[in-house]
Symmetry: D2
C-alpha cells in the first residue's frame, strides 16, 4: 500500500494533482554527489507539458524546491526532499466529486480502494503529474550513474504502429543513448517524428488518442548486478515501470518475440570483444541472464495504452448510484501519453538500477 520504492535508495512520492503540492523524498542517496541543477531542470522539462516551444505558467509550477539533503549543490547523504507547488490550490472545502467513472481511468478502482475518500480532482494521486517528482528523483540518480559511466536513454519506439528504428543492440555509445532525449521529439530516426506526429495529430482532431511503445537502453552497467528468482533486474525494473501511468506491458531484449524463436536463434553466442571484455554477438537477452546483468546493454520496452481521456461519448456507470450513464471527457489532454513518458522511463530505470547497485556495492563512492 505504498508510493515508496527501494531497498537502500528509497524514493517516496506524495501529492495530488490539485492539492497544494506534489513531491518526493529520496532517502539513502550517497553523500558527496555534485548535482548539476541546470541539467536536472532540463531533464525534468522533457516531461513537462507544453514542451514544444510553447511556454505555459504551468511549467513554472514544476520547479522543484529542495527542502533538505543538499547543501551547496552537493548531496548530504541525508533524505533529499523536494516539493513542486501546484498552480491551482485546493479550496478549503472538499470539491464535490463526479461519480461517473471515466473508462480507462482509476476513478472507480480508486473509489473502492480509498472508500471514496481520495481527492479525485485531476486524477488526484493517480495523476501523471506525480511523474514530475519522479523525474526529479530519477534525474539525481541519472547524474550519479553517469559519473560512474552508466548511461540511460530512451526513445519512442512506436506510436499507434508507426515505428522508429531501434537502439543498436550490442554496440551502443552514450551519444546514441542520449541523442533522442536531446530532440524535441524523442526518436532515433527523424522520419519517424513526422509519421508519429501525424497519427497523434489525427487522433487529436478526432477527439481520440493513441498508444505507443517506449524503448529504454542502458550501457556501462557492470556485469553481476541482480539476483535470480525474486530479485531479478527484469522484475525490479518492472515493479517500477508499471507505476508509470498507462503502462500495460514490459519486455526485455527479444521479449515476446522470443516466444516465436528457436533456441538456436534466440541464444546469444559469447565472444571476446576487441577490448578483451566478455560480450555476446547478439543481445536477445537484453543484457540480463538469470536475472543478473551481463555487461551488455540492458534493453527494455514499455507498452503504453492510449490516453483514456477522449472527447467521444462513452458508456459508463455512476458508481455511487450504481446506474448506467454516459460520459465524454472534456479538456485538453495529451493524445499520446507515451511521448512525455520517455524521460519518465529513463528516470524510473535510474532509480531502480542505482538501488540495485547500492545493494551490491553499499553506500556508493562519491
Amino acid at each position: 500500500m505504498s508510493s515508496q520504492i527501494g531497498n537502500i535508495l528509497k524514493v517516496s512520492l506524495f501529492g495530488e494533482s490539485h492539492g497544494p503540492a506534489i513531491g518526493a523524498v529520496i532517502d539513502g542517496f550517497p553523500p558527496g554527489t555534485e548535482i548539476d541543477m541546470q541539467k536536472l531542470l532540463a531533464f525534468m522539462k522533457r516531461r513537462a507539458p507544453g514542451r514544444d516551444k510553447t511556454s505555459t505558467p504551468r511549467k513554472e509550477s514544476d520547479l522543484p524546491e529542495i527542502l533538505s539533503g543538499m547543501s551547496g549543490g552537493v548531496t548530504c547523504g541525508t533524505p533529499i526532499a523536494a516539493v513542486i507547488k501546484n498552480a491551482d490550490q485546493r479550496s478549503g472545502d472538499y470539491a464535490k466529486m463526479s461519480a461517473a467513472a471515466r473508462p480507462g481511468h482509476a476513478d472507480y478502482t480508486g473509489f473502492v480502494r480509498y472508500r471514496g475518500k481520495n481527492d479525485v480532482r485531476g486524477g488526484g494521486h493517480f495523476s501523471a503529474r506525480l511523474t514530475a517528482p519522479l523525474t526529479f528523483a530519477g534525474g539525481l540518480c541519472l547524474q550519479y550513474l553517469q559519473s560512474r559511466g552508466i548511461f540511460i536513454g530512451a526513445h519512442l519506439k512506436s506510436v499507434h504502429g508507426e515505428e522508429d528504428s531501434s537502439f543498436p543492440e550490442t554496440d551502443l555509445t552514450p551519444q546514441q543513448i542520449l541523442a533522442p532525449g536531446e530532440k524535441d521529439f524523442p526518436v532515433i530516426d527523424d522520419s519517424a517524428e513526422e509519421r508519429m506526429r501525424a497519427v497523434i495529430e489525427k487522433a487529436r482532431r478526432d477527439g481520440d488518442s493513441v498508444g505507443g511503445i517506449v524503448e529504454v537502453a542502458v550501457t556501462g552497467m557492470p556485469a553481476g548486478i541482480g539476483s535470480p528468482i525474486f530479485d531479478t533486474v527484469e522484475g525490479r525494473l518492472s515493479l517500477a515501470y508499471f507505476g508509470i501511468p498507462a503502462v500495460k506491458g514490459v519486455e526485455f531484449g527479444a521479449g515476446f518475440s522470443a516466444s516465436q524463436l528457436r533456441g538456436s536463434e534466440n541464444n546469444d553466442a559469447y565472444c571476446i570483444g576487441a577490448d578483451g571484455s566478455i560480450r555476446t554477438k547478439t543481445n536477445h537477452h537484453g543484457g540480463i541472464l538469470g536475472g543478473i546483468s551481463s555487461g551488455m546493454p540492458i534493453i527494455a520496452r514499455l507498452a503504453f495504452k492510449p490516453t483514456p481521456s477522449i472527447g467521444k461519448e462513452q458508456d459508463t456507470i455512476d458508481f455511487i448510484r450504481r446506474e448506467e450513464t454516459k460520459i465524454s471527457v472534456a479538456g485538453r489532454h495529451d493524445p499520446c501519453v507515451a511521448v512525455r513518458a520517455v524521460p519518465v522511463a529513463e528516470a524510473v530505470t535510474a532509480v531502480v538500477l542505482m538501488d540495485m547497485l547500492m545493494e551490491q556495492e553499499g553506500m556508493l563512492p562519491d
Copy 2:
C-alpha cells in the same frame, strides 16, 4: 539480493539443483486453513518432469516433507517449511565447474555475481528445479484463495507461434479457468495440443528448442486491491513473474497490442451486470486500472524464451581463461520450458495476490 518475496506473506526459497535438498519457508500464512494434501501434490505434479504418464524415481524425490507450520493438515499461522530432497546428493568435495558459458544460461552472470563460488552443477540455485518449492508455496495459496472464491488458472497461449484460443475476457467461470490444468497438456482448444506438440517434437528432433507464451487468468478477485505507483497489481505480479526461469516479457489485458490501438478502441465501457455488479463490457484493462483490481478477470501473459540448452554447437567463451571456445549442451532437456511453467505461473500469481489481499485485509479469516 534475495530469494524471498512478500510483505505480509513471505516466501523464501533455497537450494541448488544438485545439493542435498531444495525447499521453501512460507512465513505469515494465516492460521486455520485446511490443506488438501492430495490436491496440493496433484498440483505440484503438474510441473514435475515426466508428467505424461511415465513415472520416474526423480518424481518421487519431488515429494515435499513439511517440517513446520502445519498440524493435522491445518496451517498453524507459524512459518511453514517444506523440504524436497534431491535424488543425487552432493559429493563431499566441490565438483569442478566448467568455465565454458552455456549461451542463454546464467553460467557467466552467476559466476560474476557469486565470484565463482556458487554451485553450478545443473544450474545450481538458478535451476528451474527451484520452481518445485515455489509450486508448493503457491499450491497452499491457491487452496486458500479458492476457499475465498478466487480462482487462478493458466494455459499455454502459444508455442513457437502455434496459438491456443484465449480465456473469455469478461465472462469466465472457475471451470473454464481450471480446465486446462486438468489436461495432460494445458491448453483450452485441444487442436492446439497437436500443433504445439508437433513444433516441440520437431525442435527436439533437431536438437533445438522453442519458446512460448503462458496466459494466466484470475476471477473472484475483489475490486480495490493494489495501489497506484509502486504497489500496482501489475508491478507486484511482474516482480515475481520474472523470477520464473526464461520469462522475458509480461503484459496485462491488451498489453503490447494496446500500443497500436486508439483510446476509443482500448477503453473498456462500464455497465451494470445482471447481478447488479459494476462491470466492463470488454476487458482490455486486464482487470487492473491505476494498479488496482477492478473486479473483472485479471489477465496476464508471460513470454518464455526457448530453452537455452540445445544440442547444436554454439560459440562461447571460457570465462576463467577468458578465451573463445565452442560448446554443445548434452543431455535431455525440455525443448519448451513454457509447458511445465504453466502451473508455476499459477503458483506465482497466487503467492503475490494472497500477499496483496493480506496487506489490505490483514491476517485473513480462517
Copy 3:
C-alpha cells in the same frame, strides 16, 4: 540507511535543523479518518520549545503545512505530506563546519557516516528538531487509535533520580493515561514537578544538564498483536524508541528489575476480570508475552541521557586535523531533553502500534 519506518503504515522523515524545512510523509494511513487539527496542534505544541507560557516566533514556525493526503480534514488514504518551515533559512553557500566534536553528540560519527558532506548546523538531520514532524505523524495515529479505544500516554518517571509515581500497572483509565500530558509539566504526582524542576534548574545554573526516564502506557490494545522472534511488540517499539535523540535504554514491564526477581515473584497470575475478560493480577510482563500483546496495559520505560550540550569546557578532538582540543558548547539548551521527549515517546508508540495493528487487521476501518 533510512529515516523511514513501518511496514504498512510508513513514516518517512526529512530535513535539517537549519535547512529550509523539515517534514514527514505518512504512507498507508487509512482513508476516512477525521482529524481534529486543533487537537493535533495542541499535541505538537507539547514538544515545542518555550512551552511554559512563553510564546516565541520559533513556535510559529512549527506549524505543519499539509501538502497532500487530506481533504476537508479527512484522510484520503493517499500519502500525507506535511512540511514545517525553519525560521532561519539556509544561506546559498555552504556554512563552514566546525571540526571540533561536541562530546556526546553525533558530530564525529555523522562526519564519518556522511563523509563530511552532511549539513551539521544545529545538528542537521540529527537534530531533536526532527521530532516535530514525528509528533505530527504520531498525532495522526493517536487520533485514529483513540477512535478505536486505544489510549497512549506518557509521563516523566524520573529526572536525575527524582522519581514520579508510576502508572497503575493493571487498572489504568484513559483519564489517568492522558492526565500528565494535560499538565505543563508531564508528571503524575505534582510534588514530583517541584523536585524535578529543582534539579533541572540547578543543572542549568551550573551550565550542566541531567538525564531522565519517560514511562509510556497503552490501554485498549487488543490481545494478539505482534509475533514471536523478530516481530515482537517490544522489538518493534524499541527500533523506533532508539530513534528519539538521547535514548540509551528501553524496558518493558518489570524490565531490568525482573533480572533480580524469582519466577514465583515475576510471573503474573491470570484471573477473570469483573467484565469476564482474561486479565493478569499483576503486570510485570508489561502487557506483552512472547512478543504479543496480552490485552493488559503495555508499559514501556525509556532512559534518556543528559543533554550533551553543556557550557563546561570539555576535552575533545578536531576530527579533520585529528588533533586534541577543547570545547564548551555555548547557547541555550534544554538542560533535560526528557521533558519535551514525553509527547515524542507517545507519538512513536502510536506510529508503531498502529502499523502493527494494520499488519494484523489490514487497511483499518474508518
Copy 4:
C-alpha cells in the same frame, strides 16, 4: 508477522519445539567465506542443553544439516538452509492442547494470535529451542566478522543480583571478549560463577527460577555504521534482542544509569589514541552516538526475566472455557535462561551488525 529479519542479509527461522525439525535460511550471505564447521558446532554447543560435560542424545539432534548455499565448506552466496531434526517426532494427529495458560508464557497470547491453531507442545514456535538455528546463523556471521577483525563476546553480568565484573569499557582485547565463552560458565570473574551457581541451584531446589543480565561487547566495528532516527545501531540490535525469549530490557553503554547522571559526568571526552585513532576516554555512549558506531567498543546489556516455568502452583485461567484454575509446571527446566542465552546474544549481535555492515559496504569482500 514474521520470523524473518534483515535487509541485505536475511535470516528466516522456522519450526516448532515438537515438530519434525527446526531450521534457518540465511539469504544474502556473501560468497567465498570459508566456514570452520568445528568452530561453528562448538559455538552452537554453548547454547545446547546439558553443556556441562554430560553428553545427551538430545545434543545429537542439535546437529545442523546444511541443505544449500555451501560447497566444500565455503559459502556460495546463495541462500544457506540448515535443518535441525527434533528428537520426538510429531504424531500424525494433532496433540490435544492444554488450555490452562502457564503464567509468564505465551500460551494465551499465542492462542489469541494464532486463533488456537498453533502447535503448542513445548512452546511450539515460541520455544527457546528456536535459538538453535539462530545460533547457527549467528555462528556463520561471527566467523565472517572475525575475519574482518570484528569480535563479539558476551558474559553473564548478573544473576538474581549476583554480579560479575564488566568488560573494560574502552580498552578491550579480542581475548577478553572471547574469554567468558571459552569457560563452562560464561563469566569474567570466576568467583561470580560460584555465587551465581549458588542462587541458581537454590532456586532449582525451591522449584523456582531466577533472572539475569547478559552483557555483550563488540570490538573492531568501524566507525560510521548505522544511521539516525529509524536505522540506529541501538534500534536494529534491540529489534532482534527482544526476539530472544525472556528479554524484557535492553540498554547501551551507561543505559538506564545515564538517566541519573549529569551531562558533565556522562559525556565521553574525545582524545587521540596511541595509534593516532580517534577515541573517547570513557565509553558511556556504548560505542554509539546518533545511532552510528563511533569505533569504540559497542556495549549492550540484555535483561532476562526468570524462567516462567516453575514447579510452584500458580493461579491461572483456562482460556477456552474462560474460567479460573490452578497450574504448576512439571518437568526439568533451566532455572535461569540467561545462562544459555549468552551465546544467543552473541549470535543475534553478529546477525544484525553484519547486515548493517552489508548495507553500508554492499556484498562484502571475501
